[in-house]
Symmetry: C2
Subunit: 225 residues, 2 copies
């Protein structure tokens, strides 16, 4: 399903080059549940942005469902991002002037889906935010914004969920509610790749890939689930 071959990412800052990814290769099969861990600054979000078709590698190939992503047009990429991939950003990335409900409705509008309001409301209720649907991001707590971002990523029932630190602002019982939602998506055949720095959250996955200094530093199955 997902195949990354010798991917590099260099950020050019004036004369200085920042090597965020230095040759990363791995495969994730359909239906896998993978956690990505590693120190701050090790390249995890950079990798997730490439997997989510939001950024392109400087070097190396990324194949999604056997297709070379670099060969796809912008409109094909946009269609894949809307139909196939749900993305939870580390910084939430909510529209500041839209309510929680409008933010979750957005992918449904883009995808031309019917019954948007009910489906968006249902997604918010699942993450415990039915009572805050009319709040804008600056009228929500940190963990509430995060959960709006999770509801938005799940509302199209994506084949692939990419979640970057989805529980960083949630107390443990609320993090567990999110993990139950993720497990259900995985049980139904969805593929999940989740960045986390919390071992208790990573243990919900079936495989952990470790990043360090822009490279893979370990890749093992999760034993104690």
């Amino acid at each position: 399903l997902i195949r990354v071959v010798d991917v590099h990412k260099v950020y050019q800052m004036g004369k200085v080059q920042v090597h965020a990814l230095r040759g990363v290769s791995f495969v994730v099969e359909e239906g896998e549940y993978v956690a990505i861990m590693g120190p701050s600054g090790s390249g995890k979000s950079t990798m997730m942005n490439i997997l989510g078709c939001l950024d392109r590698p400087t070097k190396g190939e990324y194949y999604l469902e056997g297709q070379l992503v670099s060969k796809l047009s912008d409109s094909e990429l946009a269609r894949i991002r809307n139909r196939k991939i749900g993305f939870v950003f580390q910084s939430f990335n909510l529209l500041p002037r839209a309510t929680a409900l409008e933010n979750v409705e957005l992918p449904l509008i883009y995808g031309g889906v019917a019954n948007r309001r009910e489906r968006a409301l249902e997604a918010l209720r699942k993450v415990g935010l039915g009572h805050r649907y009319h709040h804008r991001p600056n009228e929500l707590s940190g963990g509430e914004q995060q959960r709006v971002a999770i509801a938005r990523a799940l509302v199209m029932n994506p084949a692939i969920l990419l979640a970057d630190e989805p529980t960083g602002n949630l107390a443990s019982f609320q993090g567990e509610i999110i993990m139950k939602i993720f497990q259900k998506l995985n049980d139904e055949g969805g593929t999940i790749i989740m960045v986390t720095h919390e071992p208790d959250i990573a243990r919900h996955a079936k495989r952990i890939i470790h990043f360090k200094d822009g490279m893979i530093d370990g890749d093992e199955p999760v034993r104690e689930r």
Copy 2:
């Protein structure tokens, strides 16, 4: 040092009222090290904003060093915020167009302190970011932005440190480096109030206050440090 008496906070949203704090009272003595825990949406950040003199309660009193904060003028509040209180925001609140170095220099400029560049660079080195001082926030990872916010809060060597989820984006060994810095500040007599959802981080404090639905739901010393 810090005394909160029956504090309420109501957010007025059109006709709807959101009761974020419903009568909170507690005392924190000078030199204490307190962790605040509780579910997402329980009022922790709202409380921190009031403690940091960034927002006023709807009802109730807040005494800082024996002075009723509501009686202080805006310029007195600004002076207290600059000289006495270091604040790490849950959403970092960095100036987007300034570099990491310029962000950490800001309190030193405001406070008219000499040797700003060296002191700001030293604060960044302590949190492991000497190599990223010239990056703007959108050229930094999530955990790096968080550490810039920590460096900025500590650079004036504040008497009171208010940190809202300071390690939410850091791998455990990097979180431990931040905990060592906080412990040193506390050893030197500084007062620390830290919001966290991670029990391993809360255990570094000496007392835990639990929030639930805008009220205090528990207040106990940390046994196993």
